[in-house]
Symmetry: C2
Subunit: 241 residues, 2 copies
Amino acid sequence: MSPNFIHTYVSVDCVVFGFDHENRLNILLVQRHVDDVPVEMQRKLPGSLIFSDEDVDDAAERVLHELTGIKKMVLKQFKCFADPERANNMHDIKWMGEEYKQDIDRIITVAYLSLCKIDHKINSSKYDTVDWFPFDEIPSLPFDHNKIIKESLIEVRRWIEMDFSIIFELLPKKFTIRQLYQLYCALSEKKIDIKNFHKRISSFNYIIPMDEIETNVSHRAARYYKFDAKMFKKNNTKLIK
Amino acid sequence: MSPNFIHTYVSVDCVVFGFDHENRLNILLVQRHVDDVPVEMQRKLPGSLIFSDEDVDDAAERVLHELTGIKKMVLKQFKCFADPERANNMHDIKWMGEEYKQDIDRIITVAYLSLCKIDHKINSSKYDTVDWFPFDEIPSLPFDHNKIIKESLIEVRRWIEMDFSIIFELLPKKFTIRQLYQLYCALSEKKIDIKNFHKRISSFNYIIPMDEIETNVSHRAARYYKFDAKMFKKNNTKLIK
DNA sequence: ACAAAAGTGTTTCTAATACACCCATGG
DNA sequence: CCATGGGTGTATTAGAAACACTTTTGT
């Protein structure tokens, strides 16, 4: 008795979130190159097959590094996608053949979340083209990448719910309370009044007011704040209980 | 350029939680049969390789059904384990050869959580021996099953935090407030006074008092309650905000 | 002066906690 | 009668929410 067990390649795909100046969540997509493939199918999530001596977490770390050149990025595995139909598209099969020089029939992938300051310089050693796409302007993507992205949003919200400190991975090192507020609103269902938000934030000893304030704004300039991770660790607090 | 990409089997493993009469979390383990293997290594998590035309979620559902005979069990994917060393033990390699009739060098697994009423009759179509083990009496297990179980506890706590209603999957259909309280304590870090717990519970319209009360107890008999899933769905509430 | 957002102070109200008290049952 | 836990009611308090008011800057 030798039933038809899966024997397959395994990849990782990374959904990297950023937060732009129009208060929108963005995602990093890369270019793939295949002839005869409609141009709208030429974007994809950054990813890679994993090596035979590699753990998935390490593979995801590698993909992120090849993608951005950044050494340490926060990273969280969130789901294995293994629909037998997920790589059945002709174009995708062709692309895999060219990319990996192997005939690949089925492939399962482990999806990861990551966060990145959108102003950080992207220095990819692997991809020619790496671009931010606002969440609601993401084109139709190969494989089940659109599905993965859709589910990643739910996951990133959960993540911030659980560990508020990772929200600062998306903000510049110095940020205004308003920026933090807008980001919080984009990521949380909870609605909170900006004034009360302000009050609560300033009661936290791990969000530290700086001397610097905004310039060239047509209203009272806001103060910049910075996040003190050490302070946060000491008395780990949720934003909203 | 054809680097050494993984080409592997993929399995699912299920960590099924139960809650016993001594207020302890338990886990279902099955027996595996290999000669020459020390008896303490003869238990394992229920699991299976996935078939070539099967999604992982379906495989997990299949495993659970073969394990318990129960049709619908709650089920949640929680992590892919892919350490290249995880199946390097000689005994494990031998067992895989006998079980699956294939030479298996490396194997990655996707772990699932499930919950089961501990009094429910277990009717396994696949395993001769299926037993509950209290969480802190789990023996040394093959592969990385001990690691998986350890992480599953964190995960099940998160799950209940997110969706309180699944806690009732672990309780009998009729239960006392004390039972619910003990279970809640076992699964949550939050401490709450039993009296206030009682009060809060009785304020929820989806936890319905029954006419029946305990018998043969050496103190005032407690009332039985039941959980009304429909009511809960209407006004989904967290136990503690 | 006005608009627009920063930032602070005050009040209200809900909900969590602490705790007192009565009830029921077995020994 | 006592011990044990079931179950209810009340007072206190913390903190979330609503909102008024002052400050700062550009136009």
